[in-house]
């Protein structure tokens, strides 16, 4: 796992809250059996490194953290949630290319994303 990604395996976001500071948070809900999640993992790692100054990325396994998955109404994986200060700025369900991830984060960083 890339050093820029926080792995959450419990039921709270404390690990990502502790390191994100003023940065946006991108939560990546995935599962060990999910093919698209595996396919997207290198892109997420690249994006986490590329946006390290503005976005903190957390990977959450829905089977290890079912409570968080419920809290964020995850009905399919991968699900990506971009948030700041507890407010959801963007959300995407399904595999996403690096380019689309970057565009989603650019919009969120600029404050133009809608939930």
């Amino acid at each position: 796992m890339a050093e820029n990604i926080t792995v959450i395996s419990g039921e709270t976001l404390e690990p990502i809250d502790a390191v994100s500071g003023e940065r946006l948070q991108m939560l990546v809900f995935s599962a060990s059996w999910c093919g698209p999640c595996k396919a997207m993992a290198p892109a997420v790692e690249d994006i986490a490194r590329e946006y390290a100054d503005s976005v903190a990325v957390a990977k959450i396994d829905i089977e290890a953290s079912p409570g968080l998955a419920r809290q964020f109404e995850v009905r399919g994986v991968p699900t990506l949630v971009v948030r700041r200060g507890g407010q959801q700025l963007a959300r995407h369900v399904g595999g996403q290319s690096r380019t689309r991830l970057a565009i989603m984060l650019d919009k969120a960083v600029e404050g133009g994303a809608s939930a």
Binding site: A43, E45, D46, S97, R98, T99, R100, A102, I103
Partner: protein, 208 residues
Amino acid sequence: MTASALTPAMRTLRAQLRVPPADPAWGHVSDETRLLGWMLLASRPWPEAASPVLEGLLEAHRDGVEDPALWRRLRGEAVQLGDSDDRLAGLLGKVAEAAAWPLAEAGAGLTEVLTALCQLKAWRAALATGWTEADDVEAIGILTAISAGEGSAAAPSREQIPGLFAEGHPKLERRFSAQLQAATAAYSACRAEVAAWIAGACRRDESE
């Protein structure tokens, strides 16, 4: 391998296999970049809407462009193509999206292009069987309804779905299975071709 360094035996074999001559414009680039260029070219034929986008990406990789603004512009063009209503153009857009980053330090740089290329080739193989976008929409609609249990007391198990599809829509199911088989074979062949390319490059490195 330059043309002048070829032995007569290799020249004859290459001609028989229709291996195109190496493009000297790519002579200076790394194997990774050469592979990326090869995968982009393998996505041809390009319709008019896709051609400038993919040509621009080829040039940017070949010339080792570093300007972030240019890459952002290329990504914007790729996304526009990817959003096309035409599925084939959209899949070419996905190839372009995947290739619209400099390769240096990008872990996903080649895997994303590979996946997008194989998906494109799979769709082309499906179309070659006579399958159409409209057929695809219809089949997905039927399969979704069957899996939701529409018209029956309970939702069927995953294993029952193909049989129910064949029972209710035999002609469409036969064509669906044929295109699926062709698409799956094309997807696997695409991966194997890229693997062979890499193995060839590695063999050359070992012999040097």
